[in-house]
Structure formats: C-alpha cells, structure tokens
C-alpha cells in the first residue's frame, strides 16, 4: 500500500491538522515508517491532489486537506450562514496584534487613534486567535497580546513569517516636510 494513500486516509478522517510527529504515531514500530518517509509521502500526496477539488495544506498545527478556494461558491451555496465579514475595526485590531506583537491595548489605541473596542478583544480571545502573552513592566502592568497557532491555522499560515510583509514606512525627513499653508 502506498504510504501517501494511507496518509490521505488518516487526514481524511482526522478532525484537526496533524503534524508529522502526530502522523508518525499512527504507525506501529514493525511497520518501520520513518519520519522522513512521511515527509516524502506528504509531498507525493500533494502531487496526487493536483487537479483534485482539494489540496494538502500545511498550517501552524500541521497538515490538513481542504477544498480549493475556487470551489467555494458551490460549497457555500446552500449554507444558511454566510462566512462572517469582519469590520474594519476588527481587522485593524487583529492586524496590529499579528504584525506588532507583543502589543498592549494602549499601543493599539496609539496607532489607530481611537479607543480599543473591548468586545473585539473579547471576541479575539474567545476565538483563541489572540492570547495574553505577558505583562509589560509599566504602571498597571498592561497585558501584552499576541496571536495563537489557531489564528495561523485559520488564516492558512504556517508561521508569522508567512504574513504578507508590511508596507514600508518612509523615514521622515524633517527638512523635506512640506506642510504648507496652501489655499
């Protein structure tokens, strides 16, 4: 039996992404399946999925099989609940936590120029996308927020390095600042 096919069967019936280490536990010692062999077989499985409606995706927690984005219109059609659309405030808050972690609420407020919506933070914490990763040594010891592995899984990311790079901030040259009284 092809190892790639066995792995497919395991992943098809798993209810969460599985890491190579976790996949290894599915095999008995006498079956002599090395971790390296699993890695190679996963590559084969990826090739097998070419042209299929689903793909093998590696995210932070491991490998999972997921439908390809182009089939979403049909997959979604009869679902009563449309996928949630996030507000700009929600996305901006999450973006700051993702790119600038560890970050405090005050720092988020500083950049966005408005008070942090407590409900947004609560939702992010409840969803396990964000967690408190420590306290800043400042008066009041404010919480420092960071993203979780769950967040990476949800957004199809293997690590934070997979986040699109931020638009560069130009260094300010005070001499060239041209704030003028036009008009």
């Amino acid at each position: 039996m092809e190892l790639a096919t066995i792995l497919q069967a395991i992943l098809l019936t798993a209810d969460k992404p599985l890491s190579v280490e976790q996949l290894e536990t599915y095999f008995l010692p006498e079956e002599k399946v090395a971790r390296m062999a699993i890695r190679v077989a996963l590559q084969d499985l990826q090739d097998v999925c070419a042209g299929q409606s689903f793909e093998l995706k590696e995210t932070a927690s491991g490998f999972r099989l997921q439908t390809r984005a182009e089939f979403q219109p049909w997959v979604q059609r009869h679902h009563e609940e449309k996928p949630q659309k996030y507000s700009r405030a929600f996305l901006e808050t999450l973006a700051l936590i993702a790119w600038r972690q560890p970050i405090t609420r005050a720092e988020i407020e500083e950049i966005r120029g408005v008070a942090v919506n407590a409900n947004i933070i609560k939702t992010l914490l409840e969803r396990d996308w964000v967690r408190v990763i420590g306290h800043k040594e400042l008066p009041g010891r404010p919480e420092m927020l960071g993203t979780t592995r769950h967040f990476l899984d949800h957004f199809n990311l293997r690590s934070l390095d997979d986040l699109p790079s931020l638009a560069a901030v130009k260094a300010l040259d005070m001499d060239k600042l041209q704030l003028e009284l036009l008009g």
Binding site: E92, A95, W99, R112, V114, L172, G183
Partner: protein
C-alpha cells in the same frame, strides 16, 4: 435643502457660511451619516481627506486639510453623531500645526517634538495598519475560501459497546432497590398474633400424647416463619423452665427429640 434649513449653516469655512453640503463631498446627504460613521477614527478621516486629493502624507497643505477636517467635524455635530473626543483632539492638533506655520519660524532648537513630525508618523503608521488589515482580510480563510475536507468518520467517543443486561440482573437490581427502600420504611410494631405462652401450652399438650416428639414435628409449615420463630421461642422457654428436655443421638446432625422433663426416668 428646505427653506428652514437654509438659515442654519451646516458649517462655517473660512468665515463663509455653508448652507449646503460642500460640493466636493459628492455624497448624497442621506448617505452622509452612514459615511461619517464609516470612519474608524480621526486618523482615518484625515487620511481620507489627504488621499482624496492625492497628497503625499509628507506634503499636506495643512490649512486646506484642517479646514476640511473641521468642516466634517461640524457636520458630525449637525448629524448629532457621537462626536468622539479623539476627533476634537485631532482638530486641535491640526489647528496647532496651522498656527505654528503662521508664526515666524524659530530657528532655535525646540526641545519638544515637532507636532508635524508626530502627526506624519501617526498617519504613516495608521496607513500601514490599514493596509495590514486589508492584507489580512485578503488571506484565504478557513470557512470562507477553504473548507476542511473530511469524510464522515464519526468515531463514536468512546467506541464502547453497551453492556448486555440480563433479566435476572435487572430483577436483582430491582430487589436491591426495594430492600434499600425498605430500610427507610417505618417499622411497625404489631401485636404478636401468636403468643409464645400459648405455644408453650400447645407443645406441652403434644408431649403429653407422644412423649418423644421429633423436634421438627412441633413446627407447622402453614404458620410460616413467624410461627416457626414462636415455636422455637416456646421450646426454649420450656427448656429454661425445665419443663422439657432435648435429646440427640451421638452423631452430629441427628434428629433432636423433645420430651417432658423428668419423663426419662419413667420411660
């Protein structure tokens, strides 16, 4: 605009009363409220004003933008939107920058940070954050672009077969329940229907007729447990009173015989 509203200027810009929406807003009045609510904050509004006119963040006609900004803040007041303090703070900051520009420049080194630089940096940072939010929204998401592919492998948890229960076991359990229930029931003390004394007499009467009576013959099955207990008590009482004697063969478990006391000698 109705005639009544004409008297109330929407905004005063450069001393000029605006009774109608500024032309360059291009927003239908009914949509304005929604539109203003759509701003995420003062930086967002300011960024919008700058971008709309294709200005660089580092190259803002400050007077122009300040006036526009204040005009929006005025509109927000008109629409009775919750005018957040952040918007007013920004208006004040813009006014400060504007006033500094109007004053002759101090070449002398300023200790405090140039408010312009601060504003520029804030705007840059916010724009970056906005872009990051948009990028994040673009990322394929589970449940939006992708679904987890899973066959219907509903592993029952835990996959244990239900234990078989036989009818006798069920009855036994029921009995135990009844037994336990009985422990909680009140114990009623009833008047003894069979008197021990009466039975003693009866036993003696039996022994009068047949002097050696096998012990078990004294019991009557139809009297049940209770009768048996009464008979036993009666025999024991008779033994205690030395009215009867009990004898048994030498081997263990051989039948017991009851006879009248002292009768042995006669026998």
């Amino acid at each position: 605009m109705t005639a009544i509203q004409k008297e109330i200027p929407l905004a005063i810009v450069r001393g000029e009363k605006f009774v109608a929406m500024p032309e360059d807003l291009y927003i239908p009045p009914d949509a304005l409220e929604v539109f203003l609510e759509a701003f995420e904050g003062p930086l967002d509004l300011l960024l919008y004003l700058i971008r709309r006119q294709n200005f660089d963040i580092c190259d803002i006609p400050i007077a122009h933008i300040t006036e526009q900004y204040v005009a929006y803040v005025e509109l927000m007041k008109d629409f009775k939107l919750d005018l957040a303090a952040e918007y007013l703070l920004m208006a004040a900051m813009l006014a400060e920058i504007k006033s500094r520009l109007l004053l002759p420049r101090h070449v002398a080194a300023e200790e405090e940070e140039d408010p312009r630089a601060r504003l520029m940096r804030q705007l840059q940072e916010y724009e970056q954050c906005k872009q990051a939010a948009a990028d994040l929204d673009e990322l394929p998401r589970l449940g939006r672009e992708h679904q987890v592919v899973q066959t219907a492998a509903d592993f029952p948890s835990p996959p244990r077969p239900q234990p078989q229960v036989s009818l006798p076991e069920l009855l036994l359990a029921f009995q135990n329940v009844l037994k336990r229930a009985e422990m909680f029931s009140h114990h009623e003390i009833q008047r003894e229907q069979l008197s021990i004394r009466e039975r003693m007499t009866q036993v003696l009467a039996v022994l009068q007729t047949c002097r050696f009576a096998p012990f078990e013959n004294l019991f009557r099955r139809e009297e049940g447990r209770r009768g048996a207990v009464v008979t036993l008590m009666a025999v024991l009482e008779l033994l205690k009173a030395h009215l009867v004697d009990v004898t048994q063969g030498d081997a263990p478990y051989t039948p017991l015989y009851i006879h009248l006391a002292g009768g042995m000698a006669e026998a």
